[in-house]
């Protein structure tokens, strides 16, 4: 066996591993996108939006999730409204969204989440300390399975009510303070 061949094999192996990692990432992103689409079914917003306006899911710091969502939502409805996905680049753009997902790539998560809370938007994160940062829902992945934890406290600060049926399957629930 030549050194060249060995390197080629190694490269190929690494490439495969990378591909596999990408595939796994994509799967995780699609699951999260699906969850983000499903969460609103268990959440009540205090005021009904004006008729004809779409249901807006904002995504910050995760293009993969945004892409998955954009693939998922066309033709679907949440609470009887068409769904649109907005890629949010700055906290000011949070206003007008009903759900805001802040990916782990977003360094300034706290600012986004604060904006979400002020805008009455459901803040969702995917980091270990997501709930402590102020999100209402935080994805947790255990043994490759995507689950979530819920902060009722955070949700209520954003004037949102989360269904107890959803709380029943949450990994962890932070009660209201």
């Amino acid at each position: 066996m030549t050194v060249g061949l060995r390197r080629a094999l190694l490269v190929a192996c690494l490439a495969l591993c990378a591909l596999e990692a990408r595939a796994q990432q994509a799967t995780e992103a699609s699951v999260k996108a699906a969850f983000l689409y499903k969460f609103p079914g268990y959440v009540e917003w205090p005021t009904a939006p004006a008729a004809g306006t779409p249901f807006v899911i904002g995504v910050a710091g995760s293009d993969e999730v945004a892409e998955e969502l954009e693939r998922l939502v066309p033709g679907r409805q949440i609470h009887g409204r068409a769904v649109t996905v907005r890629r949010v680049r700055e906290p000011e753009a949070v206003r007008g969204t009903q759900v805001l997902f802040v990916g782990r790539a977003e360094p300034n998560a706290r600012a986004y989440l604060r904006a979400a809370r002020e805008a009455g938007s459901l803040g969702v994160t995917e980091t270990e300390r997501g709930l402590e940062q102020g999100s209402a829902i935080n994805f947790v992945t255990v043994e490759d399975r995507v689950g979530f934890e819920v902060s009722v406290d955070a949700a209520e600060k954003a004037s949102l009510r989360i269904s107890s049926r959803m709380l029943a399957i949450a990994r962890r629930v932070v009660p209201r303070s």
């Binding site: 499903k38 959803m166 029943a168 399957i169």
Partner: protein, 604 residues
């Protein structure tokens, strides 16, 4: 249907069976109806129940399905362990993959069927299999599957068990209620039955059933008591009548036997005396007296039978009461004199006219006179008086004899009753004289009444007879019983040789010209030659019977105006009518007495 004998015998058992049969029938019918309805509703109920269950599971598991939480979904299904009839359950994802399952812990896991396209259930092999889609937020996210036991027979068994228990309990309750009602319904009837049995067994007619209710049973008790009382009265009356009849028979035998000894003695005397007139005369006179006594007894006996068979009849003619009373006095005088009583007869001067049977009325008054003489100590006083009071002739027979106690006044007229049984037997009689007198007076539309101041103070019998508006036919001399009869030409036709011969001798001895015939042919021959004024013709003669003889006698010129008297053994109105139609003037019923013939000859 044949009723078991034990039930057939007891009213209590019958009512018990009735009550229990009713209860059982009602229970069985209602239970059968209930079971039929329930089995029909069972499938609907159970499927509805399972659908609801599936719905609850679908709702609860929807978030778990939505977010792929198998653990929670499995926990949701595990709740089904409280429903042991559910064998297994499963949740399918939207694309038909098994998501979570539940299997009842004690059975081997079944193979779960593939997810069907539509909702619904089916029943197979005693199991109900159900599918239900899970829809969340308007989106089809999966399906619920339930498999449960479906066994209507098990339910039927349960029902039958319950029904059996309920029936046993109901029968016990019915039995208790019956026992409670028993005394109210069957109690009084059983009481009547018990008393009836006692009455029958003990012959005690004083027993009475106690009346406890006012309903139909109460009426039954009243009627029953009245019937027992009536039966008791009748039994007592029968016993008394029977006792009187026994006494009568004893008396009769005694009375008939009594004259026979003197007659036998007299016969012996006659045999010894031979032609010695001085010795034989007292014996003959004694025989005559005894014979009169016997004839009187036998006459009474015949009258008794006529009373009891209702054949006592009277032939009414217009009569003068005085002459009837004189006849009676003539009959009774020898006895009154033999008792050495002082006798007074007080009669009105004007003739008192009544309608009646001379012989029978004379019998009534002679009976009363004989009674007075009999029940008065020797040397007493007897008064016979007659008077007209209003529209009635009143005859009184009064004595100063032993009198009547208050109780005897009504009973004295009953058959075989005698006031004093200790009286000397030779004159006691049969105890039918007053009964006969009462019947005869009633047949004359009259009344008879006994009065007494008390025992030892004498007695008075009062007879009232209606006056007749008719005039007496002929002169008073015609009615005079003392009028001497002149000799007649008499034909006697009868096949009873002894009777007709002795009667012929008697009539000849009294100065009549008598011819005797022993059959119809002889009678007709004798009549043609002899031309009798009076003919006594027996109906039942040989060769030519009496009716035919009468017709020919009437047809013959020599005898067309003769007095024809029929002599028969039958005294029915029918026979009399037939005799009249044949041409007879009079009718005599056997046995014929010389006195009867004398009376007819006198009145001719």
């Amino acid at each position: 249907m044949r009723i078991p004998s034990a039930i057939g015998r007891s009213l209590r058992a019958k009512v018990m069976v009735l009550a229990l049969a009713t209860t059982i029938s009602a229970l069985v019918l209602s239970a059968v109806g209930l079971i039929i309805y329930d089995l029909q509703a069972y499938e609907r109920q159970w499927s509805t129940d399972l659908v609801t269950q599936a719905e609850v599971i679908a709702r609860a598991s929807a978030p778990a399905l939505s977010f792929g939480d198998r653990e929670t979904a499995t926990q949701d299904l595990t709740v089904l362990r409280v429903r042991p009839r559910v064998l297994s359950a499963a949740l399918y994802t939207r694309d038909g993959k098994l998501f979570a399952t539940y299997v009842r812990p004690d059975i081997t896991p079944p193979e779960f069927p593939p997810m069907p396209v539509t909702d619904g259930y089916r029943i197979a092999d005693g199991q109900l299999i159900l599918f239900r889609t899970v829809v969340e937020n308007g989106e089809h996210i999966g399906s619920v599957h339930l498999r449960s036991l479906y066994d209507p027979w098990e339910r039927l068994t349960d029902y039958l068990t319950i029904m059996f228990v309920v029936m046993i309990a109901s029968l016990m309750v019915a039995g208790l209620i019956f026992g409670w009602l028993q005394s109210a319904v069957t109690g009084p009837i059983l009481e009547v039955a018990r008393v009836a049995r006692d009455v029958r067994e003990k012959r005690d007619y004083s027993l009475r059933a106690v009346k406890t209710t006012e309903d139909e049973i109460g009426q039954l008790v009243d009627s029953f008591n009245a019937m027992v009382a009536e039966t008791g009265r009748r039994a007592e009356a029968l016993r008394l009548a029977d006792q009187r009849k026994d006494e009568f028979l004893a008396t009769l035998a005694h009375e008939l036997r009594n004259p026979l000894a003197p007659i036998r003695n007299a016969l012996e005397i006659l045999r010894l005396a031979g032609t010695d007139e001085a010795k034989s005369r007292p014996a003959r006179e004694m025989m005559e007296r005894q014979l009169v006594q016997m004839v009187r007894l036998v006459d009474d006996l015949l009258d008794v039978s006529r009373i009891t068979t209702g054949k006592l009849a009277v032939r009414k003619t217009v009569l003068e009461l005085q002459s009837v009373l004189r006849d009676a006095v003539e009959i009774a005088r020898p006895f009154i004199e033999s008792r050495r009583h002082k006798f007074d007869l007080v009669l009105p001067h004007e003739p008192v006219v009544i309608e009646g049977d001379r012989t029978r009325l004379a019998q009534v008054f002679s009976n009363l006179l004989n009674n007075a003489a009999k029940y008065t100590d020797t040397g007493g006083q007897i008064l016979l008086s007659a008077a007209v009071e209003g529209r009635a002739a009143v005859v009184r027979v009064r004595d100063n004899g032993i009198g009547l106690g208050g109780q005897s006044l009504d009973a004295i007229f009953d058959m075989f009753v005698q006031v004093d049984r200790t009286l000397e037997r030779s004159q006691a009689g049969l105890g039918v004289g007053l009964t006969l007198a009462k019947r005869l007076v009633e047949l004359h539309d009259g009344t008879i009444e006994a009065r007494s101041e008390g025992e030892g103070k004498g007695s008075e019998f009062v007879v009232r007879l209606p006056l007749s508006g008719a005039r007496l036919e002929g002169g008073a001399g015609r009615l005079d019983s003392d009028h001497e009869a002149k000799g007649r030409r008499i034909l006697l036709a009868d096949d009873n040789v002894d009777f007709v011969t002795s009667l012929g001798q008697l009539l000849s001895a009294r100065g009549h010209d008598v011819r005797i015939a022993y059959d119809g042919v002889e009678a007709l021959a004798a009549a043609e030659e002899f031309a009798p004024e009076v003919a006594f013709v027996d109906i039942g003669m040989p060769k030519v019977h009496g009716y035919e003889v009468a017709r020919r006698l009437r047809a013959a010129p020599a005898t067309s105006g003769a007095l024809l008297v029929a002599v028969t053994g039958w005294g029915q109105e029918n026979d009399r009518k037939r005799a009249r139609e044949a041409g007879f003037d009079r009718h005599l019923v056997k046995p014929v007495e010389p006195g009867d013939i004398e009376a007819i000859l006198k009145s001719y």
